[in-house]
Amino acid sequence: MKTFNYHSPKDVKEATKLASSSSAFLAGGMTTIPSMKLGLATYKDVIDIKNIKKLSGIKVSGKTVMIGATTKHAEVAASKDVSKAIPALAKLAGNIGDAQVRNRGTIGGSISNNDPSACYPSACMALNAVIHTDKRKIEAEKFFTGMFETALKSGEIVEAVEFQIPEKADYQKHPNPASRYAIIGVFVAKHKKDVNVAVTGAKSCVYIDKDLSKKLSSNFSSSAIDGTEVKSSGMNSDMHASAEYRANLVSLYTKKAVEAC
């Protein structure tokens, strides 16, 4: 690993002051450090934001669940408040990577990296999440802009993610057997007025399947999407799964999620 300067600021203001075009914010480091070890990323300054107290914690209000950016996956998975308000979200967090990744990895890191196979972005999309940064609030749909790309500007820090509590929700994942990343992950959320079906792992970026969402909005049962073709065009194809296989998994896992709601 190439050398860098390590910083551990105590507040967001100090952290943003340290940021430059050759710096990275470090939270759990479960992607950042392996990337630096492999030489895929090099930085002059690594700014550890874990000691900024206000960035961690879980708060449930009447309609939303607010999770601080440096809250670890294991904390979300074990949270009684999250399990009560949005059980599917606790389940999702409890199945990310492995136990040691969950003891370090954070929600803010996951969404800022926006890996096309990461689990959390699908929850953000399906649960109409609002991403709170040090500068503004960004709707999930506008936050995830492409493969490993987000609407975040240089030096902008994710502070928290605010999820809308749905009537029902479930997350179903077909994990890569080695990494546990989603070959396909489908997050189905039934809100008061409509249903969101968010898909991760299938394309270069998380997305809402509008067709499936619409059909389930008018009839929330797995039979409502019988015969609905999920098109494989634009889907990823690799040694683990062809585009056609992924397309089939999207409809299959949407059904599984609806039935588990």
């Binding site: 690993m1 860098f4 070890k37 690594v46 492995d98 370090r104």
Partner: protein
């Protein structure tokens, strides 16, 4: 350079190291605690698992500076007064290892599991050990070892 002060296996240690020093490197090269192994470079094998403030983590994917002030337990810190930790004794008894390379990570990970779950099922043990790869045993005897240890801890 940065000064890193940790409590490792009950003893306070302080070393001046380059900022990019990984915890695994700090333990192995600076403290000569070579029981913590490094088996891959992709954070997937789990041979480097140690406890930081009681929780299992991968020391090869964590900066030493990042855990400044923490309590770290490595495989060398488990045995007390020359007596094997129940998990180590169980691995020995059930032959939960062959070459032994993955064993320190397996043991540290399994100890963490039993801290939160007293009597895990086979399935729960296998799920928990997802991040620990063994290329010798086929895992059967490792699961048996964790079950055996669960009756002693």
């Amino acid at each position: 350079m940065t000064k890193v002060t940790l409590e490792v296996n009950g003893k306070s240690v302080s070393k001046e190291v380059p900022d990019h020093t990984l915890l695994s490197v700090f333990l192995r090269d600076n403290l000569n605690l070579t029981g913590t192994h490094v088996g891959c470079d992709t954070s997937q094998c789990g041979a480097c698992v140690v406890h930081v403030n009681g929780k299992s983590i991968k020391s090869c994917s964590t900066l030493a500076a990042d855990v400044e002030g923490s309590k770290v337990t490595t495989i060398e810190g488990l045995a007390k007064d020359g007596k094997l930790h129940p998990m180590q004794a169980a691995f020995k008894k059930t032959h939960g290892l062959q070459c032994g390379y993955c064993t320190p990570g397996m043991v540290m990970s399994a100890v963490d599991l039993l801290q939160t779950k007293k009597n895990p099922s086979d399935q729960e043990i296998r799920e928990w050990l997802e991040g620990n790869i063994c290329r010798c045993t086929g895992y059967q005897n490792i699961v048996a070892a964790v079950k055996e240890a669960a009756t002693k801890m």
